[in-house]
């Protein structure tokens, strides 16, 4: 049973009641005096003693005025007491919600010190409220190995109001008082009040959820394996019989065997699709996004489906689009082949199927068009649901599983796109799906935070050669993604000072600078490097948020230097040119031979 104390508000209420009665009594007394005086005035007014009458009149007026003021004062006090009671009630209510929440609630000030800590936080982290208040959040709930990154991110947030975890639900590893690390999901919000900013965090222990997810994964994997193992034997044995290797079969026997083979294949497809759909929709499969060429994807899809098209007597017409996407090529290929497969199944011999793509605004629109039987209007939406087909017999007659379009929709949606169909029954159908085009370098999605190795981490000294000086963690991740795609790890230095510290220990192969202002950290870093013989020819990539003038460029140049202006360069171009520079570094002999490079300077 839930209880909370309201003693202070009861005491206030009693006191308020005494005041109220006192005021009423005084008011009534004064009013009575005023009335008596008023009556007396009438009698005295007739007498000759007008002065006495005037005094009595004045007294009556003062009495009445005082009574009115007292009543007003009483009203004000009553209202204030009511407001205080209401506020107290709200505070008690809020406190009760926080104290009985099933999630831990932690509030901290801008110094990162804990200012609130609810009972569930006591349970999850093992610190009592009294112990936790005033402690540093980082030292209390963040594991040692993540503490430096956390503190840097916190400082970055305080100065920029931008952070990778603010106003989002994120999963991190937390630390219990007993030293145990465990997974938590947290949501953090900033409260700006007159008295100072407060960061409020709700934290949920997701240890059990993770365990369930692991069990589910293992179950899916086990089912997948256990179903496939007997199917492998069945399909293999039937295949050997059907191909006549074990001796000829009578015609009827061959026909029955073909039925068995066809349906075994159908069962295999169904198992594949069920598992695939489960994994795609549950997010178990992360889209392995990378830069991929639409021409390659469309051509490859057509090649994969060519044999099926030829068998059906159908022509495939492909009009590829020459541009790049940020997508999982395997999954987009799966989507295209699925749509083409459907189109082939429902086209009559001699028909043509068109696969086209076009850029429209900030997205690319793919189209697969056929002249098949078409789709009734009431089925245009439902065909993207699981096990929904235009005709219930399609599964059997066309060999589909009824899951292909549901899988396509999941894949497209996980890429931030849309999928739909348009059709005129009897004349054919067109399936559309869109995928967003990458707009600029910063639009590229971030890699997980742990891919960026902080300078303070000793392990970084062993593997990292590209030094990125960037105070924006999100942008640093974008850079990291670009390099990691080419097997190159980076060292991230949020400040110029940390960049210099790194260079004092190890010479990077390339320096990447983010220049956002004339007093940006990049300038002193380059000036410092210029004074070191072994670093003064270091290749540099500069990303500026504006066009740099020639003197600024000169101040940032060491060895071969590339300049980029943010928003004016596509991710593809950025990657191509930077990797081109790195290739050149390798061709020219790697470390220690900076002076031999040809300078590539661009605006």
């Amino acid at each position: 049973m839930l209880e909370f104390s309201n003693k202070p508000s009861t005491a206030n209420s009693m006191l308020s009641r005494y005041y109220l009665w006192a005021f009423l009594m005084v008011s009534v007394l004064l009013s009575a005096c005023g009335v008596v005086q008023g009556v007396d005035i009438g009698t005295l007014w007739a007498s000759t003693d007008r002065i006495d009458g005037a005094i009595k009149l004045l007294t009556a007026g003062v009495s009445l005025g005082a009574a009115v003021l007292l009543i007003q004062l009483r009203n004000q006090i009553t209202e204030r007491k009511q407001a205080e009671e209401s506020l107290q009630k709200n505070q008690d209510h809020t406190r009760l919600i926080i104290d009985t929440a099933h999630d831990a609630f932690i509030a901290m000030d801008t110094a990162g010190q804990i200012t609130d800590w609810n009972p569930q936080a006591e349970v999850i982290f093992g610190w009592s409220r009294e112990e936790a208040l005033g402690r540093s959040v980082a030292d209390t709930i963040i594991p040692q190995h993540s503490r430096a990154t956390h503190k840097r991110g916190f400082q970055h947030f305080l100065t920029t109001s931008v952070g990778p975890v603010v106003n989002k639900r994120v999963e991190i590893t937390a630390l219990h008082r007993d030293g145990r690390e465990f997974p938590v999901e947290l949501s953090l919000s900033l409260l700006r009040l007159g008295g100072g900013d407060t960061l409020n965090v709700f934290i949920r222990d997701i240890t059990e959820r993770r365990a369930v997810e692991r069990m589910k994964d293992e179950f899916v994997s086990m089912v997948s394996h256990e179903l496939r193992t007997p199917l492998t034997s069945i399909r293999g044995a039937l295949g050997l019989l059907a191909c006549g290797m074990l001796g000829p079969l009578p015609k009827k026997g061959q026909h029955i065997l073909d039925i068995a083979v066809t349906n075994t294949d159908r069962l295999i497809r169904l198992i594949n699709d069920v598992l695939d759909l489960e994994r795609v929709t549950s997010g178990k499969i992360t889209m392995q996004k990378q830069r991929c060429n639409i021409v390659d994807l469309m051509t490859q899809a057509a090649e994969v489906m060519q044999a099926m098209a030829e068998k059906a007597g159908v022509s495939l017409s492909v009009s590829p689009l020459s541009t790049s996407l940020w997508a999982d090529p395997d999954r987009i290929l799966q989507t295209l082949t699925n749509l083409l497969s459907n189109a082939i199944k429902f086209s009559s011999s001699g028909a043509t199927i068109w696969l086209t793509a076009a850029c429209q605004g900030e997205e690319v629109v793919f189209q697969v068009k056929d002249h098949g039987r078409g789709i009734p209007p009431d089925k245009l939406e439902s065909i993207f649901e699981r096990f929904q087909q235009v005709d219930v017999s399609d599964c059997r007659e066309k060999g589909g599983t009824g899951l292909g379009l549901a899988i396509c929709r999941s894949i497209v949606q996980q890429h931030g796109g849309r999928i739909w169909a348009e059709s005129v029954p009897g004349q054919g159908s067109t399936f559309f799906f869109t995928l967003p085009l990458p707009r600029e370098t910063a639009a590229l999605p971030a890699e997980p935070q742990d891919k960026i190795v902080p300078v303070s981490d000793d392990s970084s000294l062993k593997i990292d050669r590209v030094l990125v000086v960037e105070d924006d963690l999100d942008l640093a991740r974008v850079f990291a993604t670009t390099f990691q795609r080419h097997g190159i790890e980076i060292v991230h230095a949020p400040t110029g000072q940390e960049a210099i510290q790194f260079c004092q220990q190890q010479a990077p192969d390339l320096l990447m600078l983010d220049v956002t202002s004339p007093d940006s950290d990049g300038f002193p870093v380059v000036a410092w490097l210029r004074r070191r013989d072994h670093l003064r020819q270091l290749p540099v990539v500069v990303c500026a948020d504006r066009s740099l003038d020639s003197s600024e460029q000169e101040r940032l140049r060491l060895g071969p230097t590339l300049f980029f202006t943010k928003g004016r360069t596509t991710p593809e171009e950025f990657e191509q040119r930077v990797i081109g520079l790195l290739d050149q570094i390798v061709r020219n002999g790697g470390e220690g031979s900076y002076g031999n490079y040809q300078t590539h300077t661009s605006h």
């Binding site: 997948s224 394996h225 496939r228 007997p230 492998t232 034997s233 295949g239 290797m245 295999i268 392995q288």
Partner: protein, 127 residues
């Protein structure tokens, strides 16, 4: 006269081993050796020196990737090309296996004719 190529099939499932053996022998004309575990496969690979190994991924005790690594670590067997057979169909899984350095990753269930053709093509043997 060219000698018949010998393929070692390592799979813990008796039925699958037999189907693969029959397929490779009858369709491909290869000589097939079999082993029902990674341990036995390693031993047979060392002593019999097959021309190629078809290796199942999910096996108890010693799974396919571990067996492959052991084959690579042994000077007597590291030259033998290995093809993985797996029931895992996810592209990411296949890539992960391919990154081990095997010649190919083939998926289960398989069509016997297609399996034989894939093995022949992968190993560059004239069918």
């Amino acid at each position: 006269m060219a000698t018949t190529k010998r393929i070692l099939v390592i799979d813990d499932e008796d039925d699958i081993r037999e189907v693969v053996q029959v397929s490779l022998e009858m369709i491909g004309g290869y000589e097939v050796l079999t082993a029902d575990s990674g341990d036995k496969g390693l031993l047979k690979a060392e002593t019999e020196q097959p021309d190629a190994i078809l290796l199942d991924v999910m096996m108890p005790d010693m799974d396919g990737p571990t067996t492959f690594q052991a084959l690579q670590a042994n000077q007597m067997t590291r030259h033998i090309p290995v093809i993985l057979l797996t029931a895992k169909v996810q592209a990411a899984d296949r890539r992960q296996f391919a990154d081990l350095g095997v010649k190919a990753v083939l998926t289960k269930p398989f069509d016997p004719m297609r399996l034989t053709n894939q093995v022949t093509e992968t190993l560059g043997w004239v069918s």
